[in-house]
Amino acid sequence: MEREQQLKLRRIALDIRKDVLRMISMADSGHLGSAFSCVDILVYLYFYLMNINPDEPGWRERDRFVLSKGQACPSLYAVLARRGYFERQELWNYRRLGSLLQGHPAYMTALGIDAPSGSLGMGIGISCGMALALRKTSPQSRIYCLVGDGELQEGSCWEALMTASHWKLDNLYVIVDRNGLQMEGRTEEIKALEPLIEKFQAFGFFCSETCGHDYPSIDRAFAEASDSRGMPKAIIARTKWGRGVTLAERGDIPVKASLTRNDVTLLLDELNKESVSLDGEERS
């Protein structure tokens, strides 16, 4: 991936993080760390990889995206708004009564939301159904499903993985946001997921691993995956919970954040500093 492209994506991701921070602080609730950990993956998908058309959100031949970890929806909403699915203004109504942007995503094709989510562990199964159907009606469409790592403790995920490999759904990409944290602590302490790659492989997936914040590395993982034939793909994206803001990365913000005014100022300062340094990189 070219440097210019990378800088462009980084710029978008930074703006998305600022939007998400504002959404969560205005709503006074929302999962900041979980939302931040997958921003770069979402930006890569929506601004680089996916075959979509915001002017025609119901276009049949489009790629589909299923956000299984529904709590990370502020990032998805901010991405969709910036990609032109709806007015950015609507973001500030996130979690408010009467808003289109629910605390966990409601299904709304018009807004670019391809599937409902909120109750964990259902996204891979829904994606299997889409993959089966689209294999017939729109063979070039791909289905990208982003799951949280903690979410994989839901048994329904593993039912769905079996379904995916049994039907050889090679239009299905399951991306694991492997940030290592869940509501009450570290995944490996609460109920260990490792060895995760081996599990996916044993379930019949082509598996590749990447840093979930580095665009060239993400791009390589997807390219590798798409080269594999006749099997569903899993991309384990190693990510950092709260990526982009030190306070969250250090774990000084609760999992389900109610941010103080001081937190917001600190976080925004850091994102603004990053903007300045990105300006520098762009000029050099």
Binding site: Y107, M122, C128, A131, L134
Partner: protein, 313 residues
């Protein structure tokens, strides 16, 4: 009288549906022989999917297919469809209001020997409580078949409850059934007996006995549990002044619950139920279980005697 189970309607209705609508696909959870989806599978192998023993996954897959524009029919045993996959039905089907048809077989105690785990007595309560969901309980083969075949015109979540046991064929093939409908299958001025599923036949038997005693029972086949045919029920009860509800379901939250909720607001009258008295089932022969759990015409006659004595005039 010829007897067939309501689940048998799937054998003929699903292939018929496939001919009517190209989007129709059938998903099964390893019960194809018992649910008769096998016939569809043989006729339309490329439109049939078995997800194995995984009802939760079945509902998710159905949801994904509906999101991609297909018209999935998910067929499984009622215990494991309505029970095990409840959260999937709630979040992946009912909440997004998708065109997914859930067909639940082997409902109620007349499943028989398999026992309590397999005798679903709470599914109507579970499904009825879901916004956007429509709930149907056909009594015989033809009503089941018509409801399944005509369901492709209905673009919303739908739950159809079918039974394992052979029951009399009551309707003619020409009869039509629809969400929100109900049928007065016997007219009478003295008491309204509302029934669904196998209890329709018990209600009809009870009505004959009551007629000999000079009480004319109006019997309603209330196959649409949600939406309830409220006008039909109310106009009958306004004439008779009392009501008995009979169903093969727990007394909590099923057809009796629906009728009580409706009449309570619109036209309160003395009301009784013949249903499972807040218990789980157990193994036994179907007919034996019907006696043991008091789901026969005799209990309906008894309930009618009680409401009739205190009827609203």
């Amino acid at each position: 009288m010829e007897r067939r189970s309501t689940r048998e309607a799937l054998k003929d209705a699903l292939p018929e549906l496939a001919g009517l609508d190209e989007g129709v696909v059938v998903i099964d959870a390893d019960v194809a022989s018992s649910t008769y989806t096998k016939t569809f599978a043989e006729e339309f192998p490329d439109r049939y999917y078995s997800v194995g023993i995984a009802e939760q996954n079945m509902v998710e897959v159905a949801s994904g297919m509906a999101l991609a524009g297909m018209k999935p029919y998910a067929v499984a045993f009622s215990s494991f469809l309505a029970g095990r996959a409840y959260d999937q039905i709630r979040c992946c089907v009912a909440m997004p209001d998708l065109n997914v048809k859930l067909i639940a077989t082997h409902a109620g105690i007349t499943v028989g020997e398999d026992g309590g785990t397999h005798q679903m007595l709470e599914d109507l309560a579970l499904m009825r409580a879901l916004p956007n969901m429509t709930v149907m309980v056909p009594a015989d083969y033809w009503s089941a078949r018509d409801l399944i075949v005509s369901s492709f015109k209905y673009d919303k979540p739908l739950y159809i409850r079918l039974g394992r046991m052979d029951v009399p064929i009551f309707y003619s093939p020409k009869e039509e059934f629809k969400p929100g409908g109900g049928k007065i299958v016997r007219e009478g001025r003295d008491v309204t007996v509302i029934a669904c599923g196998i209890m329709l036949f018990e209600a009809l038997k009870a009505a004959e006995i009551l007629a000999r005693q000079g009480i004319e029972a109006e019997v309603i086949d209330c196959y649409s549990v949600k939406p309830l045919p409220e006008d039909l029920i109310q106009s009958s009860v306004r004439r008779t002044g009392c009501c008995v509800v009979a169903e093969e379901h727990n007394q909590v939250g099923g057809l009796y619950g629906a009728v009580a909720e409706s009449l309570g607001i619109n036209y309160p009258v003395p009301l009784r139920f013949v249903a499972i008295r807040d218990r789980f089932g157990e193994s036994g022969a179907p007919a034996e279980l019907q006696e043991y759990y008091s789901l026969t015409h005799r209990e309906i006659v008894g309930a009618v005697a009680q409401v009739w004595a205190t009827r609203r005039r």
